[in-house]
Symmetry: C2
Subunit: 429 residues, 2 copies
């Protein structure tokens, strides 16, 4: 967007255009950086600069603020776009998928657009290249609400390929909306990981002063290069400020806020680690890098549904859905309950060969179908309680278990086994 | 349950039976109370006593522990069960519905069973009668997962009747599983409240040493007698310890843990107040008691559905459900998104006259369909974004709005209007 009002006048007075490198002075403060487009969420008198360290800063041009041109965009040379390689650095793979984090800003031109090539994606945060040799690929460029099971499978295969061919870690920039689903899917599909597979997103796009993209990408890269982690994880802001990033286990993480930068929370678990500047501090136990080869188990049965129970829930809708699927995850109330009206429907579905799994819509805590008679009736009807597994994770796992297993007993055995940290040790309530 | 092991032997050695008043000494500690049945979740060497203040205590009978009989159950007189009345006290109405909180323990006999009469319900916590004249009715005795819209309507009418006939407040002991749905329903159905309508539950039944029933009931009664609140609220433990109770607005509260005593949280809002012993401290603005008469608007259209979107969501299932309802609430991802595959289905449903409302499955934060193209397409298809309203609350409100309104425009006007604190002031993200 174009600047308006006071900012527009001040910039016009010196002939500054978007993409120019400028210096903004106000009182004793002074900032030098690339002049970015005006962001619709910034206030009127805010000028946004991209500093040389990759961070954006919004400067309120009130009082004695003054702008000076350091170099015009047109006068600067075109920078070589080949990714640099150094034999002293380790290889990290980037697999682009789209989402807010891929709304990259070309830091030389100031233009905002989705990354069209692997190089563009990498060059958007040039400091990444100080830490590692980047190999970059764009697998798709979609908002994450459009992710499908086939995308998860393609990601799993591409991540395994990168690890097998020497990358010490894989970074997957991903839209945040369904990042928890993708991280769960990759957690089940990828076994024997020789390095971390890190999903990373941003809640504010790179053209906004408050963008969390750069810090999250830097933390993800540090994890790949410096840690001995061999798990699928999500790396996002741990607080709404830029204090640290949290490393969440891929099967325990959920987007718990529509817009905050610290929207992602580990549920029924602590984060694995926090990354604060150059320091990685571990909080929980984790799987170390495997010494063998990374395996892909990506067969999925997509005929699985997820339904949330609520008062007034229509048993007819349940019966229709149950008639079309091989497996159904119910997010029940409290300890995992549904109304007694629904128990006959569960019994019929199980008799027809549908795998019916029970989780809780409370999200926190574990299901327990042994406390009340409702739960005991559900067990008797053939429903399988899944401890403290998140409903979404259970949904993804059920597709995977149905894809992997030979027969219904094997499906239940897989569902009740902790495959990738998705189910905490059973505890007495 | 019978005591076993060490506890059983110690009790047998003095001839103590459940229901007897006993004294348990251990070191320099000493407890006197009614011997309660052994609870299956208590460890082996734990003896549970109901103290005279109504609280249960579990005592580990290790080391030098000794038991002495104070009075045998059989020797005590039968207490008069008529509810006492005093002209100096205010009237508070109890409307029993069932649930864990209604698994009352007869404190004279120690037996655990659901309250069969209004008096039994009141006598289970006799200290309540020190604060007020109790009027008690049992409306139903069901687990809350079996609550239906007709129960909400009966509760609304009964609560209004009690307020109109002089009660200063209404307390509704309720199962916790769907308490948030019921509190939302009552919030929309009851207007012009002359006193608080307080839903109160317990996460641990009264026969367990850790029961939260007594403290929650006492706090609810205090709120009825001492506050000037005229809203539907939920009163539950504010922390897992017995430090204080929180007063949650009926449209902003959600059960966020399967088993913890502080499972209920206000979402996208602070609790209205906290109650710590005799002190009520207000945290937010609230509606004062109305001076007019309490009104009931209990007409509901039950042909409403609630669906959670997820990757792999079957548009066919959506179309089938949409074909059977007058209104549909979607819990989308992030800012309220669904996959582009689903947008055509939304458009068709809206064209067929279905009211399609958008909330976020993140629970925290607000939907905003203006940031990304997906959201703008959803708006164009006719979906209505509901700010920071919880999905469950939107579901209940849509039934109510369809029941109240003349025509679709009026439904949307009601849905976008803050009727009972369900939608916070719009904020810029």
């Amino acid at each position: 967007m174009e600047y308006t009002g006071r900012a527009s006048k001040l910039l016009a007075s010196v002939g500054a255009a978007i993409g120019d490198i400028v210096e903004v002075r106000r009182g004793r403060e002074s900032y030098q950086g690339t002049l970015m487009p005006h962001h619709e969420f910034s206030g009127d008198p805010i000028v946004t600069l991209k500093l040389s360290n990759g961070y954006n800063v919004g400067i309120s041009i009130v009082g004695d603020a003054a702008v000076k041109i350091v170099s015009k965009k047109a006068e600067r040379n075109v920078v070589d776009r080949t990714l640099p390689r150094s034999s002293s650095k380790k290889d990290v793979a980037f697999l682009g998928t789209g989402g807010t984090i891929a709304s990259y800003v070309d830091y030389r031109t100031g233009a905002v657009h989705p990354a069209k090539s692997a190089e563009e994606l990498a060059f958007s945060v040039p400091e990444l290249m100080d830490m590692c040799n980047l190999r970059a690929k764009v697998l798709c460029s979609i908002y994450s609400e459009n992710m499908e099971v086939s995308h998860w499978q393609a990601l799993a295969r591409a991540a395994a390929d990168e690890l097998r061919s020497g990358a010490v870690g894989v970074i997957i920039p991903h839209g945040t909306d369904t990042m928890g689903f993708s991280s769960a899917a990759l957690s089940f599909m990828l076994r024997n990981l020789t390095g971390p597979v890190v999903l990373v997103g941003s809640q504010r796009s790179s053209d906004r002063p408050s963008s969390d993209a750069t810090m999250n990408l830097l933390a993800a890269t540090r994890l790949c290069v410096e840690s001995d982690l061999g798990e699928v994880v999500v790396v996002m802001h741990g607080e709404s400020s830029d204090s640290y990033c949290s490393v969440h286990r891929g099967t325990k993480v959920r987007k718990m806020h529509a817009s905050r930068r610290d929207a992602f929370k580990s549920i029924n678990a602590d984060p694995i680690a926090r990354i604060e500047g150059p320091d990685i501090s571990y909080i929980t136990e984790y799987m170390r890098r495997s010494s063998g080869e990374t395996l892909v188990q990506d067969k999925m049965d997509t005929k699985v549904g997820l339904v949330h129970f609520y008062p007034g829930f229509d048993t007819e809708h349940f019966d229709i859905i149950a008639g079309h699927v091989d497996g159904l995850v119910i997010a029940g109330t409290g300890l995992g309950h549904v109304s007694e009206r629904l128990i006959g429907s569960i019994r019929r579905a199980v008799k027809d060969g549908v795998q019916v799994m029970i989780t809780t819509q409370c999200l926190y805590g574990a299901v327990n179908l042994n406390v009340y008679s409702t739960g005991r009736d559900m067990i008797e009807a053939g429903a399988v309680p899944l401890g403290d597994m998140l409903p979404e994770v259970a949904y993804v796992k059920l597709m995977w278990a149905l894809g992997q297993a030979d027969g219904p007993d094997e499906v239940q055995r897989l569902m009740l086994k902790d495959v990738a940290g998705e189910m905490s040790q059973r505890r007495r309530i």
